[in-house]
């Protein structure tokens, strides 16, 4: 029986997938040359006024609805003051007094079964820039590309009690937010990162222990290691009565596998929040609320159930598809087009994934339309295009937006039922390879396959395999 329990609350920052920044029209795209996506507003020059990006509010509301939150119908932006060179105005515009979403829940699954994690609030805010240290000249340079990129911060209640639960919670958030297209949630690009608030108390105690916070964690494995280290450190301090356990912000060094207290100077301070007078309160009327509500996707597990029960997919295939909203959308569209769910799933899970892997693309970037995929699968299933040629067409579809039928016609990939032509080709192949004919006649089945392959190649694959087999046997047997 363990003596202590860990109490963990998370603050998860997620960059929202908007085209432009939250208060100016600069691109919010990841990457780019340093200071390429900047303007006087996001560089903190005086005189520019913030204009709220409505799409960011849409996505903030969407996130809240996916996490069962109450949406505040009047939501405001506030200023949080602190000095740091990557914060050009020396204040961050965030939501302090009336965040867009409050009081939600997320259900996680672990080995111990399902558990509800309460969400305290979700607020929108702007991201900060990045400091780059130039060793050569020993100077620090500021890159404002990420400044004012819209974020949501999802604040949980301290309902998590282990690294396993934290991972399950983060994966669940990631899945829901990706599904609702709120964010790509790419931890490696920093578009999802979290602050871990942790305390330890004796089992059965209702009083919370001393809390420490580890900021800006951006990998699941590092989070697991940090939680395990910090839990052990807390227990050590409690047992030895050490005065080293104080409420503070700590930095996790994943290489050394240790957490360090940050200088108080970096963390202490009064943020002097107050409402931003340049941003009028945002009123979310019924029409706006209903529009967002109607745009919500089915939850992944609802989709899975439907795929298995109504469309006859295996559990495994359904699981593969619900890893990504793009896959699901493509699957559903293609199935609606051709009515062959099982085949669509196969093409997506094996053929499309193969091409994506080869191109080193993520599933989110799946470039083909479900409609075109459905058309292609119908062509193959109806025997109009051979399956090898179908894969050629699929590869072409990844390169450009083409209609499978038109492409097949233009490139001579349509199966021909011209039996005279087939007979002529078979006759020539048989005549040119008497040895294989003899082998087959003396009982070597493999020899027939060789002849069949040669004929298929001659016919460029445009032949119904059944027809070819019949003609071939007729020709050999004279």
């Amino acid at each position: 029986m363990q003596k202590y329990e860990t109490v963990i609350g998370l603050e998860v920052h997620v960059e929202m997938a908007t085209e432009s920044k939250i208060f100016c029209s600069c691109s919010a795209k990841f990457g780019g040359e340093q200071n390429e996506h900047v303007c006087p507003a996001c560089c903190g020059m005086p005189g520019m006024l913030p204009i709220v990006n409505k799409h960011a509010v849409d996505l903030g509301m969407t996130a809240g609805m996916m996490l069962n939150c109450h949406i505040n119908r009047v939501t405001t932006f506030d200023k949080k003051s602190y000095y740091y060179p990557d914060l050009p105005c020396s204040y961050q515009t965030t939501q302090w007094f009336a965040p867009v979403c409050v009081n939600g829940t997320v259900t996680i699954q672990t080995a111990n079964g399902p558990k509800d994690i309460r969400i305290k609030q979700i607020h929108m805010e702007e991201d900060a820039g990045k400091l780059v240290h130039d060793e050569w000249t020993d100077t620090s340079l500021v890159d404002f590309n990420r400044t004012s990129v819209p974020l949501i911060e999802i604040v949980s209640q301290p309902d998590l009690s282990s690294a396993e639960e934290v991972v399950a919670y983060l994966e669940r958030l990631r899945s829901l937010l990706r599904f609702a297209k709120v964010s790509g949630c790419r931890m490696e690009q920093g578009s999802m990162r979290c602050d871990v608030n942790l305390s330890v108390r004796p089992v059965g105690s209702t009083k919370l222990g001393v809390r420490t916070e580890m900021k800006n964690m951006n990998s699941l494995s590092a989070i697991v290691r940090a939680i395990e280290y910090e839990t052990a450190r807390h227990i050590d301090c409690i047992e030895s009565g050490s005065d080293e356990l104080v409420q503070e912000t700590r930095r996790w060094d994943d290489i050394k596998g240790k957490s360090y207290a940050m200088r108080t100077k970096e963390t202490a301070g009064d943020y002097r929040y107050f409402p931003d007078p340049n941003i009028m309160p945002i009123v979310i009327d019924d029409e706006w609320y209903d529009r967002i509500k109607a745009s919500l996707p089915e939850f992944p597990e609802v989709k899975k159930e439907r795929y298995v029960n109504e469309l006859g997919l295996t559990e495994y295939d359904a699981d593969q598809l619900i890893q990504s909203r793009q896959m699901c959308d493509c699957f559903e569209e293609a199935t609606a087009q051709c009515g062959r769910a099982k085949e669509v799933a196969n093409w997506l899970i094996s053929d499309c994934m193969k091409i994506l892997n080869k191109k080193q693309m993520t599933v989110d970037a799946l470039p083909i339309s479900g409609k075109a995929l459905g058309k292609l699968i119908a062509l193959v299933a109806d025997g109009k295009v051979g399956s090898a040629n179908g894969r050629k067409i699929l590869a072409a579809m990844f390169e450009e937006d083409i209609d499978p039928l038109t492409y097949a016609e233009q490139n001579g990939l349509i199966i021909s039922n011209d039996t005279d032509n087939i007979k002529a080709v078979v006759k020539a192949v048989v005549a040119a390879d008497p040895k294989s004919v003899e082998d087959f006649k003396s009982g070597k089945e493999k020899a027939l396959m060789a002849l069949f392959g040669k004929c298929m190649r001659e016919l460029k694959g445009n032949c119904d395999p059944q027809v070819l087999r019949t003609v071939l046997l007729e020709t050999i047997n004279g």
Binding site: G44, P46, G47, L49, P85, S90, Y91, V142, R272, Y273
Partner: protein, 394 residues
């Protein structure tokens, strides 16, 4: 005495801009060493509209550091004063000398109103949200507006018409559909308690204007509204809080003054700000910082917001019975260099007269050395009265 910080073009319809209104070709300094030589990458919406309407930017009028002082005395480029020590505001002196036909001024704490009243000129502070603040150096965004000073009410009206109207680049800009039709002014309330706080000469100005109004058949009644004087304290607190936040961007990192003496980021911040900001500004920053601190937020910032609502309700109540109110714009008829030496924060006291309109965003008009404050969108009716005064009042 430096009236113009940077000279613009010569031309027929020359307008001076307070040195807080950004232009692309001339530097904009906010009267501060911090922004000495700062040239903006973009220009203020009002500057664009002004030029579209055929006016010329005559140059940048000297202002006090971030326009929060009495009459520009805290400018890094020096105070403007006559030989006898009388303080003048640069924009009004340029008008007096006929160098410009009008001036666009930032009304943060009422300095342009005070100055126009002292100079016997005309000034209109429009309804908050009717003139774009895009491209004006922010100081106290919740109440500041761009106003127009001129030697006639008619010019004020024309220049205001050129720059006013909805601007999508300003989130507080009011769409035209929200404008209401102003009523003619037939009944005026004189704020007796605030008037009583001014000296005899100033009270005489109010009495003279009252006589003019009555001669035009406009009824005047004295009223006492207790909460009006609280607007001063509340606006000083809100203004300082917003100022503190707005000037925090001047940190020596990106643009503006940077101290040559630093070895780390903290020294860069404190050195740059210590060396570039003046004493009055520093005090106001500290005051604002205190107002917003966690300990004081409730009792200072939040309370000021509540006072703002109370004052707005008091005005709304007055406007059910009266078409506008009449009050002085300042306590005396002359301020000197000695006065502001004796009390650097005199502007905070003088806010008694100007804060009611600043904190509520209501329009105000200066004519005959006094101030009219009316309901939202009533500036044209008040300018009618001012214009009539210009023709017949003197």
């Amino acid at each position: 005495m430096k009236l113009m910080i940077n000279e613009g073009s010569a031309g027929e319809k020359r307008v001076a801009l307070d040195d807080l209104i950004l232009t692309k070709d001339l530097p904009t300094t906010a009267g501060s060493k911090m922004l000495d030589g700062y040239v903006s990458l973009f220009e203020a919406e009002v500057a664009t509209r002004l030029q579209k309407a055929g006016y010329t930017i005559g140059g940048k009028a000297n202002v006090g550091e971030f326009a929060i002082d009495l009459l520009g005395e805290t400018s890094y480029f020096g105070a403007c004063a006559k030989e006898d020590g009388t303080l003048v505001y640069a924009a009004n002196e340029l008008l007096e000398k006929g160098e410009v036909c009008a001036a666009l001024q930032m009304d943060v704490n009422g300095a342009p109103r005070r100055a126009a009243a002292l100079a016997g000129q005309y000034y209109v502070k429009p309804t908050y949200g009717t003139v774009s603040r895009f491209g004006t150096i922010p100081v106290a965004c919740s109440g500041e507006t761009v106003g127009v000073a001129a030697t006639t009410a008619e010019t004020c009206r024309q220049v205001l018409a050129a720059v006013a109207g909805y601007d999508e680049k300003d989130g507080t800009s009011l769409p035209q559909s929200m404008y209401t039709q102003p009523k003619d002014i037939k009944k005026v309330a004189i704020l007796a308690d605030i008037t009583a706080a001014a000296d005899a000469d100033t009270q005489a100005k109010v009495a003279a204007f009252q006589a003019f109004l009555e001669s035009k058949g406009i009824a005047c009644e004295k009223v006492e509204v207790e909460c009006m004087s609280a607007a001063k304290t509340a606006w000083n607190a809100l203004m300082a809080a917003e100022l503190c936040n707005n000037v925090s961007r001047y940190d020596g990192v990106k643009y503006g003054y940077r101290t040559p003496n630093y070895t780390n980021i903290d020294e860069l911040y404190t050195g740059s700000r210590t060396e570039a900001f003046g004493d009055v500004l520093k005090t106001m920053i500290l005051f604002g910082s205190d107002v917003l601190s966690t300990n004081n937020y409730e009792k200072m910032y939040d309370k000021s917001l509540r006072i703002r609502r109370v004052v707005a309700e008091a005005f709304a109540d007055l406007f059910t019975k009266y078409d506008c109110v009449l009050l002085p714009a300042c306590a005396k008829q002359r301020y000197t260099v000695e006065d502001v030496k004796a009390d650097q924060y005199l502007a905070c006291q003088e806010a008694l007269f100007t804060a009611p309109a600043s904190i509520t965003g209501l329009p105000a008009v200066i004519a005959g050395g006094v101030q009219l404050v009316g309901p939202a969108f009533s500036e044209s009716s008040m300018l009618d009265v001012a214009q009539c005064y210009g023709k017949e009042g003197k």
